[in-house]
């Protein structure tokens, strides 16, 4: 191992024992262990999912396909019925979901995060029932109007454009009302809970999952377990704060809280020495990233068609490269790694891209903290400003699609994109969230590109050593291979299911193995890594990286470029090149 400027660079020969002595490989083993376990749980239920989808097709299929001029009520009902096919709803899935659940949402009473009595749950449900009744009445009225409008359009053979437009508008209103009623209905199903026992059980599971490999890597299990109690307690605290309703509204999520609480402890009373064996940032983060790979499904990039691919996959690498160049050549960023991490979180998709890029280029923890911090601050601002600007300045007919695509391509975090999109309306939410989803798929490409660039170019400059193929293999962060492998394997399985029956991929992979398996643990692993980052971060060191405000200048330059290019590209693609396709949305 050679160390230069605090960056650890591996140099040496490949040895097979690395596969059980290095955290990169253990990240792959643990990640795939969880993924395979989830496949064992859900894949035997594919028959049940097929049955649900086939039943939906039999019930609504013919009526849904009687015209392609508008999306009829039957078309929406077919879509709703097919959505009910979710493998994670089998009994084991429900148990897993309850076992790995985070603290609950709370407003004023902190105990609500962990415990709710039957009486309180019943009172909440009663309150929600009254609201639901009102929303249901609105939905029923909207449905009656939609049905009447559709009948009129159908009587004209769906050939009268005015009647079609009127039916579509009435159906859209019914959908909005139905959505509001569905959300209200969910709140009537409040049940009593006691999360404390489950959180302890989950902590024990994680301790074994990470502790046993640690003992193989040379850290005594007892020492790790003792430290893990502390790290896990801070993680639970971070989730607890992130689920407070005001924090949720501001989009201050677990990553911000985990880093903040960790730093607060380490920079005031200090991280206890006995906790340090469990402060394993890289180990947790890489395992989370392998799980993340499984949800990077390539088929999804087709969702919004060619216009979407140009907005998400052409603008993003352009912004990444120009911003990186700006950082190196114009403002002379002292750290190429910090430059790369900021470029990734700003141009791709915020925290998750920052994590992947930071691990791929072996950035310092302070550099990741800084990049994540910048992203979170700008996300909170853009979540408010962008919808207001769109509403105030965009032509009404372009607010939903153009506005949605603009926000999806520029706001960093998915949750903030959804909130800002929902503020404008249903279609804006769908377009924004889908553009963001396509950008999320780009994480794998960018992480691979960054890993290759730093392995073959930057580290060569730093060490002065020539790089052959063997050396590239030796230095290349192996977890990136696990991440890519998970992505490719699950993309193939997903497409395989879909080619067997349309919608089966969603039921088995999206809403099965991923949502009911890897997703349950990924957030926990990332929060463990963020707490570890905080617990090992010196605030003074962070200030040193921020010297001269260069990271801020870099972020502002990159995001401004991103805003301009995304808006121009979205307009050209959705309204100049593919206007007919846009009209279909």
């Amino acid at each position: 191992m050679a160390e230069g400027n605090g960056i650890v660079v591996d140099q040496g020969k490949w040895e097979w024992s690395e596969m059980w002595k290095k955290e990169d490989w253990w990240a792959i083993w643990i990640g795939f262990f969880l993924l395979v376990a989830a496949m064992f749980v859900y894949f035997p239920h594919s028959g049940e999912m097929k049955e649900i989808i086939n039943k939906a097709e039999a019930k609504y299929g013919e009526a849904a396909n009687r015209t392609s001029a508008i999306k009829t009520i039957a078309w929406h009902k077919l879509s709703d019925a097919k959505k009910k096919a979710e493998a994670r709803k089998v009994s084991t899935g429900k148990w897993l979901s309850s076992f790995a659940a985070k603290p609950h949402k709370w407003t004023d009473n902190p105990m609500d995060a962990f415990f709710m009595s039957k009486e309180k749950a019943a009172a909440k449900a009663d309150k929600a029932k009254a609201k639901y009744a009102k929303k249901k009445a609105v939905e029923d009225a909207a449905f009656a109007v939609a049905l009447a409008s559709e009948k009129l359009a159908e009587a004209a053979g769906f050939k009268d454009e005015t009647l079609n437009a009127s039916a579509s508008a009435a159906i859209d209103k019914w959908r909005d009302a139905k959505l509001a009623a569905s959300s209200a209905k969910k709140k009537t199903k409040v049940k009593a809970y006691n999360q404390i026992g489950k959180l302890i059980g989950l902590g024990v599971f994680f301790c074994l999952l990470f502790g046993i490999p640690m003992s193989i890597m040379g850290v005594p299990f007892k020492k790790f377990a003792l430290g893990f109690v502390f790290v896990y307690a801070v993680v639970v605290l971070a989730w607890f704060f992130s689920y407070q309703s005001t924090m949720k509204h501001y989009g201050i999520g677990y990553a911000a809280w985990a880093i903040f609480l960790g730093m607060l402890i380490s920079n005031t009373v200090g991280t206890p020495k006995w906790a340090m064996p469990a402060v394993q940032t890289e180990y947790y983060i890489k395992t989370g990233l392998v799980l993340l790979g499984a949800k990077i499904l390539f088929e999804k990039i087709i969702t919004i068609g060619t216009a979407g691919i140009f907005v998400a996959w052409v603008v993003t690498p352009t912004v990444w490269l120009i911003t990186y160049w700006f950082g190196q050549k114009i403002i002379n960023m002292p750290s190429k790694r910090l430059n790369a991490v900021i470029c990734s979180d700003m141009s791709v998709c915020g925290v998750s891209a920052a994590i992947a890029a930071a691990s791929a280029c072996r950035a310092k923890k302070e550099e990741l903290t800084l990049a994540v911090g910048l992203s979170l601050v700008f996300t909170a601002i853009m979540m408010i400003v962008m919808p207001a600007v769109i509403k105030g300045t965009f032509p009404v007919d372009k607010q939903m699609i153009l506005g949605g695509a603009w926000m999806g391509g520029t706001i960093d975090a998915s949750g903030a994109v959804a909130a800002a999109g929902a503020f404008l309306g249903e279609k804006a939410l769908y377009v924004a969230a889908t553009i963001k989803m396509i950008q999320n798929v780009l994480i794998g490409v960018i992480a691979f590109f960054v890993a290759l660039y730093f392995t073959t170019k930057v580290e060569t400059e730093e060490t002065g050593a020539k790089v052959g193929l063997t050396e590239i293999w030796f230095r290349f962060p192996k977890f990136v291979l696990g991440f890519m492998a998970a992505s490719i394997i699950f993309s193939l399985i997903y497409s395989g299911f879909n080619s067997e029956l349309d919608g089966l991929g969603r039921a088995m992979i999206d809403k099965g193995t991923i949502k009911g398996g890897s997703d349950l643990f990924r957030g926990w692993f990332f929060s463990l890594s963020f707490v570890s980052i905080g617990l090992a971060t010196n605030f003074r060191e962070l200030k040193h990286h921020f010297k001269g405000g260069k990271p801020l200048i870099l972020y502002v330059f990159g995001q401004s470029l991103n805003l301009v290019l995304t808006l121009v590209m979205a307009y050209i693609m959705f309204y100049v090149v593919f206007p007919d396709l846009t009209a279909t949305i």
């Binding site: 005031t268 996959w313 998750s352 769908y430 969603r506 999206d510």
Partner: protein, 113 residues
């Protein structure tokens, strides 16, 4: 208790700082945060939407956000339903993907040395 403190503060001062910052969290979460939320109309409306739709506005990945799934279903089903031949694995679509890799290659070759 031995600890990895990164400052040279005395124990009482260190604990004092910890308590002070914890107090600031409380001030933000229960006083400043709700005040801003209630006095900036866009914020207020977004908070209402977030509550009504149960959106996880702090989600970092698309799978954590309800809208992504619904959006994906809605859009892909809409395009399939319209039976258009300019949707799907078209040449233009592949041109988009190819452009992405071409841009990265260009950057690798000419911008990142």
């Amino acid at each position: 208790m031995s600890s990895e403190a990164v400052t040279n503060d005395s124990r009482p001062k260190a604990w004092g700082k910890l308590i002070f910052f914890s107090f600031l969290i409380w001030v933000f979460g229960w006083i400043v945060g709700p005040y801003i939320e209630n006095n900036i109309s866009t914020y207020k409306q977004i908070a209402q939407v977030v509550e009504e739709r149960d959106i996880d506005s702090a989600a970092y990945m698309y799978m954590d956000s309800v809208g992504s799934y619904d959006g994906e279903y809605y859009l892909s089903d809409s395009f399939k339903h319209s039976k258009r031949n300019d949707y799907g694995m078209t040449k233009a679509f592949f041109a988009g993907i190819l452009s992405c890799f071409m841009i990265l290659w260009f950057g690798w070759r000419f911008m990142m040395n």
